[in-house]
């Protein structure tokens, strides 16, 4: 039976404590923290990280990639296609964005499940990622967090079967953004709860239980979306759920991560369930999608390494000032250093595999792996000078070691000081790169590094991505 064959999660390492937000605005911040995408991260980079995590845990060759988000970097240009290139999926995969609603994630899951069940795809990856911004001083600024999750749907080595599903749509205006809004707007809370959220969730769950002839007590784990912890608790109370059944929404520690939220909760639930446990899984937004999942014997093997629990606590607490500058919410002083040149879409297209997937070449004659240099694709082997005898060679997944570095006060970055240097890849090859998610004072020659897909800069309406190196945790 079709189901989830792997799940991956990605949370940025940065946390903004709600107390820190409160301090700035003179009120009491809430407790806990929200996960904040790094200065060089966005929906697509986090989605790539989650997808890679999912693949590393046992993803198969996949026929499709569905990306769900309400915060895509482009209003018109497919994020899933960028992602699929970065993750190096085969070109004949189906890629699509699911967007414009918080329910985009479960909508994509339903589509993936239907495709696999119908046999039109062997396996499909569903990724959900969001970096939604709340307006300053508002409730959403406190609650919204950033994160990404990826599920692989397939038939082989299923860890949780999808037994049944049930969907309802609802034209209900509880949270929305026009095409010109930077921040979501929301309706009055009581109206949302009493007319929208609570009755909708109750209807979809009751509908699914009726359809599958199950009772709420048949579920060991119940995973569902809510806009915040209070609303989450209100539904548990209305449905008289047993505390032991309810999966913590993680909102206190990372915030509400939008389309990713319910998948990240599911990842947490899958770390705990036993074989044959049933999970009730419900996504919400302009209606609701409810699923019945059932863990298989494969779950035990999968549980050997944590998916999300080790990422819940961040590594670096940032200031509100950092948050504002990283998200471009305040104008900052322009650098007096020379500006970067505008990029050429033509050469960027020619070099798309190099730039997006960090694919270089290996010489078939002497075996030397070599990274294409930007602006200069390898044609003649750097080692043996043989022409055009190469096979593609991916560096993004190779372990690396720091060879040398500098803490660079002149590097343009929203998180100074810049740190950059040289990494040597296990198996050969070398690259001069920027470092990220690192402590400038703790860099050391020979420290283990890994590659991570990041946003470099935006110029003339083009978001430019490339790979950086970060210390291995």
């Amino acid at each position: 039976m079709a189901g989830i064959t792997s799940i991956g999660a990605y949370l940025p390492i940065y946390r903004l404590n709600r107390e820190e937000i409160g301090k700035v605005w003179g009120g009491r911040g809430g407790s806990g923290a929200k996960a904040v995408a790094g200065y060089d991260e966005d929906t697509v980079t986090m989605a790539v990280a989650a997808a890679i995590d999912c693949l590393n845990r046992g993803g198969a060759d996949t026929d499709g990639l569905l990306l769900a988000t309400t915060s895509a970097p482009y209003r018109e240009k497919m994020s899933a296609a960028m992602m699929a290139t970065a993750v190096d999926f085969k070109e004949e995969s189906q890629a699509a964005d699911f967007t414009d609603s918080l329910r985009a994630g479960t909508a994509a899951l339903k589509a993936a499940y239907d495709a696999v069940k119908a046999g039109s795809a062997k396996s499909v990856m569903v990724v959900a990622a969001d970096t939604r911004l709340g307006a300053a001083k508002g409730a959403l600024e406190q609650t919204l967090g950033d994160g990404a999750a990826a599920l692989m749907i397939g038939n082989d080595k299923v860890i949780a079967e999808i037994e049944n599903s049930y969907s309802l749509f609802n034209d209900f205006t509880d949270i929305w953004r026009t095409d010109e809004d930077k921040f979501p707007r929301s309706a009055e809370g009581r109206f949302i709860d009493e007319v929208g959220y609570l009755p909708m969730m109750q209807s979809v769950i009751e509908g699914l239980l009726k359809k599958s002839k199950l009772k709420i007590s048949d579920f060991e784990s119940i995973v569902y979306y809510a806009s915040d912890a209070r609303q989450h608790a209100a539904l548990a109370k209305r449905l008289k759920l047993d505390k032991a059944q309810v999966q913590d929404p993680l909102y206190a520690d990372i915030g509400n991560t939008g389309t990713a939220a319910v998948f990240l909760m599911l990842a947490a639930a899958l770390e705990k369930v036993k074989a044959n446990d049933r999970i009730l899984f419900v996504g919400y937004g302009d209606g609701a999608d409810a699923f019945i999942l059932r863990a298989t014997d494969e779950i035990k093997k999968f549980q050997k390494t944590p998916v999300i629990s080790h990422q819940i606590d961040g590594k670096i607490n940032i200031t509100y000032g950092q948050y504002l500058t990283w998200r471009g919410l305040v104008p900052i002083e322009a650098s007096t250093l020379p500006e970067r040149s505008a990029i050429s879409l033509q050469s960027r297209w020619r070099e798309r595999k190099t730039i997006m997937a960090l694919v270089g070449v290996r010489c078939k004659k002497c075996g030397t792996p070599q990274m294409n240099q930007l602006g200069q694709t390898v044609r003649v082997c750097v080692k043996c000078q043989t022409k055009d005898q190469f096979e593609p060679y991916k560096f993004s997944d190779k372990k690396a070691k720091l060879f040398t570095y500098s803490v660079d006060q002149l590097m343009p970055t929203l998180n100074p000081p810049g740190v950059n240097g040289v990494v040597d890849f296990e198996g050969g090859g070398r690259l001069i790169v920027e470092f990220t998610d690192c402590d400038a004072n703790k860099m050391k020659v020979d420290m283990p590094m890994e590659m991570t897909f990041r946003k470099m800069f935006t110029s003339r309406g083009i978001h430019n991505y490339f790979w950086k190196a970060k210390p291995v945790e």
Partner: protein, 396 residues
Amino acid sequence: MDGIKNKVAIVGMGCSKFGERWDKGVEDLIVEAAFEAFEDAGIGPKDIQAAWVGTVFSGVSAITLSPLQLQYIPMTRVENMCATGSEAMRAASYAVAAGICDVALAVGVEKLKDSGSTGVKGPSIVGDNQDGSSGIGPGYSAPASFAYLATRYFHDFGIKPEEGKRLLAQIAVKNHHNGSLNPKAHFQNELTIDQVVNAPIIAWPLGLYDCCGVSDGASVAVITRADIAKNFRPDPIYIKALQITVGARQGAMMQDYDFTHMEENVRGSKLAYAEAGIKNPRKELSCAEVHDCFSIHEMIVYEDLGFSPRGRAREDIEAGTFTLKGELPVNTDGGLKCFGHPLGASGLRMMYEVYKQLQGKAGPRQVKNPRLGLTHNLGGNAGTGVCSCNIVGNEK
């Protein structure tokens, strides 16, 4: 293949004042340096039969030389990163040596301060971040790319960063002392070790005074046949070697490169010594102008060019080997450190100093009994570069 040795000579040189020349344009810098060179050679613009101008950012085509009003002669603009000025001289010298012309002009000019920014427009390796490229590569600065050498040199030779910084500081102090004796230098102030060590960090472990300045300048040479050089002046300076050695990113792509030397420097200097017939550069050279864009690079150059044994530049720095009164004075005019680095001008500015030294006209900076001098540029950065290595002498 017998090389350039003793085929051509420099019979006139000029060098503008280097610095923040806010009130002067590229044309002013060129005229200032060129007319000094004409006067030095005892000729006028009409005597020039061909010209090469080297500039990276300050002009396209040899029409850059139009301020000189040379009348319909063959002229070409050349560019080879930090070796651009030396490249102009190489072109002029080769044309004279080939017998195509008898009097050629080599001009190097750069007006960096018109960019309106505090640095050189960055990453300058072909393809990286140039207009019309994919331009998405890492945004490391030039100081950082040389700091990689310091980090790795300190690591491999067991030098603690604090010790390393004091060691490099001695290079800046030496060059500033030399610059203080040179009215054409951008910076003419002395520095102390503590000032250097305590300066703000630019790219760890390099601080402000480990980095050369940013300035405007021009320098010019008049090249002629060696056999007629004495018709122009009694003390022509003969060219013994002109070498350009260009990397192909081997160091940036392959793990066997150690980031404690520059292979281009090693290869380029070996070729130059062979061309000039030099066996022991430390003993035979009277002075050297080397590419001290960053202090660590001057230190590495001591080893790459065979002045110090590998890994032992430290001992020579501490012994004062490269000071004005030392065994082999290096950067006697103050170097890039005090002149700044207007890219196209630097190579010929270095040659201007060696030319004056070999003629015994270097004033308070004069080295004793000069015979042979070397100039050296390194463009690019650790991992791949363009090295220029040139040797001249005052005897044929």
